[in-house]
Amino acid sequence: MTLIAKGLNALLSPFKAMLSSPFIRRRLLFFLPQLFIVTIITFILLKLVPGDIVDVLLGGLSTEVQRNSLREDLGLNDPVISQYFTYIDGLVHGDLGKSFFTGQSVAHDFRDRLPATLEFITTALVVALLIMIPLGIRAGSPKQTGWTAKLDRALSKVVTFYGLLAGSLADFWLALILIFLFYATADIVPEPGGYFALGAEPEKTTGFNVIDSIIHGDGGALKSYVGHMVLPVATLVFVYGGPILKMTITSMAEIQSSAYVENARGMGLKTGTIRWMQFRNALPPIITIIGVIYGFLLGGAVLVERIFSLNGFGNYGVESVLQNDFLAAQSFMLVAAIWVMLVYLIVDIAHAALDPRIRL
């Protein structure tokens, strides 16, 4: 019992230290103003739409009565300032407006799409980390002597080239190539389109496809899901794993030439000890790049979603813009921006947990 308490304490102590850190307090303090600015920008965005927004939203064929009632609904007859407060008030109460395209409330649409997209990008990110971090550690701290030295040098060349290549490929193009190779030519994956084969969807409870498949004991759905997601995940891993790998290598290499790693070698510390020291010191910029990618992907996997006809969050955003459904687009921007800011907040907290110098 006390052992568990002790262990928990040890686990939590860096976080406790962190919450008392001035840096984190300042950082948390900034979060609200940032949210505020985000809402102002999304609010203004809608005002930028040229012409009468009501006409744009309703399309050409609308009656005067319809238009007036919508104008009333949106509060467009009020002064701008009170429009903004109405907007905020709605947001606070979870009212993100109504989508004219889907005919549903935007909040409902998001609940429908967000879990699956989160699941998709998280899977891709985890797979990318599992591959790229070990590879990057290896390539970023090559052995200078011994028989593996040559191998390490070759590895770091290959990996460096891959890093450049991954950053240069358009994800949508890579997705097409993969479809051409593995579906059109080799025919080893199911026909692209959707998360599942037609009719294989599990009953919807949480909206997370894997979780739904599992809680309803639907093995067929799970299998179909995995088959359909191999290529989309592979696309994201290849393209967005590149920056992670590159950062791991650069950062590890930089720390390897630091004076304290040299000192540690001079003290005859174990290779494992030194690697660990090196990795911990190399971690902050790696975490940053992971955060940037994770933040970006929620709305940024849109092209891959489109190509594989995944009815995801990013696709919803682009589709609503292309359909002139600006209320939905506005809420999409808001949610995506908040997601990014949350991820960055977590990144900063992680930095502070890792580095005592930042906690000041």
Binding site: S258, G268, L269, N281, D355
Partner: protein
Amino acid sequence: MLEIKNLTVGLPSRAESGFDTMLEDVSLSVEAGQSLGLVGEAGSGKSLLVHAIGGLLRPPVVPIGGEILFEGQDLLSMPPDDRRLILGEELSLVLPGGRIRLNPLEKVGRQIVRVLRDHHPEMAKAEALERAIQLLDRVGIPDPDKRALAYPHELSGGMAQRTVVAMALANSPRFIVADEPTTGIDVTIQRQILEDFAGLIREDNVGLLIVTRDLGIVAHFCDRVAVVSEGRIVENAEVRTFFKEQQHPVSQELMRATVLERQKAAEWSAAAASR
């Protein structure tokens, strides 16, 4: 005990297929219970020699020829894993720079504990920590049990350098190679650390190779002195004879510079007194 034979260090030259050498044909030897001071102008290659001993040269700079024998074993040709067992255990390095030598993410006490336990895994953590605190105390850090819990950025430059010395002394090495170990430490503590070294030499028969810019340290604490210039040993003498008369022009120049310093100091105190 430590014997360097014809050591040459350099890097592949860009011009021809040869090497640009940065240490050439260096030979030195230091016995147990003896101390050698290594002096020379900036950039002459003193630190390079220390790095070579610790196997810390970084490509493209590589050892090209010669041997570094520690108790008969060649550190240069030894596999890195074997060298690791000697470094920090039997032969310790004190590298210069202070804070930059410490892992910024770890409390200094733990860093010393790592030096102890990486070489002696059987040592209990609590025991190691206690020993780390003793070591901090020994190098003159006040409140050592509190300071052990400090991060490097919370220490002054001098305290950090003393921590580096403490790490080197942790496993009671039989030989110490120290590169400007007391630069940036105030004079009284400097004296205390050097006296500690001297005690180790006298009582425990430890050998010492110390790189310094301060001929005063050489005069007080060394048996022999070697002068490096442009990667070569140009003079290697008993301290007693060296201070009587220097053979090589570079040595004479070093001596003159030191004397000038002293004169200046005298002038300053005179000037201050007359105000």
